[in-house]
Amino acid sequence: MGVERSAGGRILRLVHGWIWGDLDRRARKLLSFAEVETGGGRDILRAAEMTPDPLLRRLYLAHAIDELHHGDLFRERGATLLRARPQSLRSAAAPAWLPSDGHGLDDLRIEDERDESLLGFLHLSEKAAASRFSVYREIVQDDPATRAVFDEILRDEVFHMNYTYAQLARISPASHRRRLWRARISRLWKQYLRLAAAVARVLSTIVLTVQYFIVVPPFAWLAKRAERRERPGWTVLQPEGRESLTRQY
């Protein structure tokens, strides 16, 4: 099974052409891939630790090592591109100071997944990734180093696609096609959820921002006035009664 050039891939090529055209966006994209690959690698590592099947354990382990290596490749290349930017732009790439949430393989809970469903999911994920990466590889013709990263990763993705399919057929010979369909539906559902969450996030941001500027100002004035009265330094604490443990305030 090789890397397919699907219709989706052709559309992606158009959409992503402008993204990859800019060096800064290219670097950020590579760094975000690094996080995804590393997170995915850790999830697959977890699968290796959970599976009762010795062959799958070895394959998952090899796969996880590949993914972690891909993370390193993307990170290294992204960092190299970032370092090539002017000093004045570098601070913009500083990481958010709050820890991020979200992780790995589509927020999959590896502990709850059986090998059949995980293999189906991995197979489709690898296939989708290979399809996207082959598009990106063509887009970055002007950047041989980045292209080389995609070349190396694509070679591994072919192995990942093949072994996940073969192992799914081995452990679930009668129903592996059905498993793949289930995995496809599950991926679609998760994509819908992601989209829905993103839309909800945008809408809630708009509503809350409007509220912030309409409702908050008088309270802000009161809060600032109260702050001015506060003395810096120690606040002496009054002893609390036993009943204080029953309240959240």
């Binding site: 070895r58 820890p99 912030y212």
Partner: protein
């Protein structure tokens, strides 16, 4: 009486179970979920604790959450109001985060565990820290200091604790410093400025500080001024953490200290830029230490007590702890093995037991091993199935074999009994190696831990010989019990202990009590017979970005993919086969 403590939702969530006044088990969610600093509601940890104790949720007398979530929400809301209109970007996120889940803790606990709401109690964040530090320490009366980023409003508290002869217990917090004035946030801001992850990279700042000189102390002091009552206040013009979720330092901060480092730039200490970052780290470290020393010196004078119990994330700063011990006047400092938020789960449960329910005082076992135990048979099965070289040895042969491997410059993955509660491996989930050469340090950083070159490794040595190799002040042995202090390596041993001697001649030594980890203690003795020096390099059993391993199979998968030569979960010993060192896992899997 059975009390479950829970910490969750910010970083490092955990659960701990206290039965009849004594901890039975405690584990961080990250050890089970395998997601570093996992902050989710720790249902995995709770289930494991209940299973381990053989009880169900109905058997619990109380569930104690480690902080008052509504009070915390109040602080977030008021901080947003005070920084209006600059906080407009962070406001939607803050509201979504808090109102989405975090303020509904009582309902969440009740619905997850199916217990009545009246059984759910709340300590304050710093009460939990104080209890975790004081009620687990082998002392009856002590001054208490807690310091972290922020809890509800408090960022630092001082007080004292008393375990009375009549069995009663009191923990009295006298004063607090309130957000946004926070030593923890000051340090975290520099952590972010230096390009490290907050809540994780603070160790790196401390390690980097040794390479720098505190040339920028005067600039740091522009950020933090002392108040007449002996506390401090931050100049918020230099910070944005109270108004932004994107950046913790302001443009004025950047004007003062220069451009920040991005996470992807390596720190090259040979360059002026690298040295500037090291100097920044050294300067903020110095100011942190000075401030803590002043506060603890005043606390010592006020309480007149010889012991100090120190909790909160700031207590993980071993360099500062050593200075407090040396300069504050306290004779002993007790830092629990889990002084951060995870430890609050245990602290909250103990606080409810002693203070709310008024249960009689009990001594808490003085060790950190409250987590799941390693199952050696799992390792035996997996390694055998994979065709690794596996042996089962009795204890004496296992110790001798391991000592010989270490003496031959092998690197050993060591799993023994229950895993540690807290961020440090203290002898049950450790990577061990010979401490003698810089090559070993570099090999571990490069091939095994995959981390920055400048980061030091810690040593472990028996209590009986610790003073021979390290300059331990009075009270140093106690601070070294859970690796909470950084002390100088004696100059005459530095060359022979090059792998664990930091650039400034110090080491964060673990002083091992035989009763706490008898097998590791025996290994140190055996290694001493081989090398003449009963000291081992000792680091947590994980690779960069991953939690410390918990189960045998997690240790095994780490062993298979990094340069560890030998893996031990007594009595099972796995050695990397010769060919597998050169043949890739992929080839092996397909063979």
């Amino acid at each position: 009486m059975k009390i479950l403590g829970i910490s969750a939702h910010y970083h490092d969530s955990a659960a701990a179970l206290v039965c009849d006044g004594v901890p039975v088990c405690a584990v961080q969610e990250e050890r089970l979920s395998r997601r570093k600093n996992d902050a989710v509601f720790p249902i995995g940890a709770i289930e494991w604790c209940l299973d381990h104790a053989g009880i169900g949720p109905d058997d619990l007398d109380a569930v104690v959450f480690y902080e008052r979530s509504m009070l915390k929400f109040e602080r977030i809301l008021i901080s947003t109001l005070r920084t209006f209109p600059h906080s407009w970007r962070s406001f939607p996120n803050a509201m979504r985060n808090s109102l989405g889940e975090k303020v509904w803790v009582r309902g969440i606990i009740s619905s997850y565990l199916g217990i009545p709401r009246r059984k759910i109690l709340f300590t304050t964040h710093h009460q939990s820290h104080a209890a975790a530090a004081f009620l687990t320490a082998p002392t009856r009366r002590a001054a208490i200091l807690t310091a972290d980023g922020v809890g509800e409003w408090a960022t630092l508290t001082v007080g004292h604790g008393d375990r009375r002869v009549d069995g009663g217990t009191s923990i009295t917090l006298l004063r607090e410093l309130r957000f946004p004035h926070s030593l923890g946030m000051l340090y975290s801001t520099f952590t972010a400025y230096l390009g490290f992850s907050v809540n994780e990279g603070e160790y790196k700042v401390m390690g980097l500080a040794a390479y720098g000189r505190p040339t920028q102390v005067d600039r740091v002091r522009k950020l933090i001024r002392r108040t007449p009552d002996g506390a401090f206040a931050l100049n918020m013009d230099y910070f944005e953490y109270h108004s932004s979720a994107k950046r913790s330092y302001s443009s004025r901060f950047v004007e003062l200290f220069g451009p920040p480092r991005t996470a992807y730039e390596p720190i090259d200490l040979a360059t002026a830029e690298g040295q500037r970052f090291a100097d920044c780290a050294a300067s903020v470290q110095r100011v942190l230490e000075d401030t803590l020393v002043d506060i603890t010196r005043a606390l010592h004078q006020e309480t007149g007590l010889p012991d100090l119990c120190f909790g909160g994330g700031v207590a993980l700063n071993g360099v500062a702890n050593a200075r407090i011990l040396a300069e504050s006047g306290f004779e002993r400092i007790f830092v629990p093995p889990a002084p951060g938020d995870a430890g609050c789960a245990l602290g909250a449960a103990l606080y409810a037991d002693r203070v709310y329910f008024g249960q009689p005082d009990r001594n808490v076992p003085d060790h950190p091993f409250w987590g799941p135990a390693v199952v050696s048979q799992d390792l035996l099965r997996a390694a055998t199935e994979d065709g690794q070289t596996v042996e089962e040895l009795d204890d004496a042969r296992l110790i001798e074999r391991t000592a010989a491997e270490l003496f031959a410059d092998g690197v050993v993955g060591w799993m023994d009994g229950a895993c540690e509660f807290g961020p440090r491996a203290l002898g049950h989930r450790s990577i061990l190696a010979a401490p003698h050469s810089v090559k070993m340090r570099d090999r571990l950083n490069r091939d095994i831990k995959y981390r920055e070159e400048f980061r030091p490794f810690a040593p472990v040595t028996p209590i009986e010989t610790a003073d021979r190799y390290f300059e331990l002040p009075p009270g140093g042995v106690r601070l070294g019990r859970f690796m909470s202090g950084v002390f100088r390596v004696r100059p005459e041993w530095r060359e022979q202990l090059a792998a664990i001697t930091h650039v400034d001649g110090t080491a964060r030594v673990q002083v091992l009590d035989r009763d706490m980890a008898p097998r590791l203690s025996a290994l140190l003795e055996a290694y001493g017979r081989h090398s003449g020096i009963p000291v081992l390099l000792h680091t947590s059993f994980n690779v960069a970005g991953e939690p410390i391993v918990c189960s045998a199979l997690e240790g095994y998968s780490t062993f298979r993919r990094c340069g560890i030569d030998m893996l031990i979960a007594a009595p099972v010993v796995v050695t990397k086969r010769g060919p597998s060192k050169v043949r890739s896992l992929k080839e092996e899997a397909l063979a």
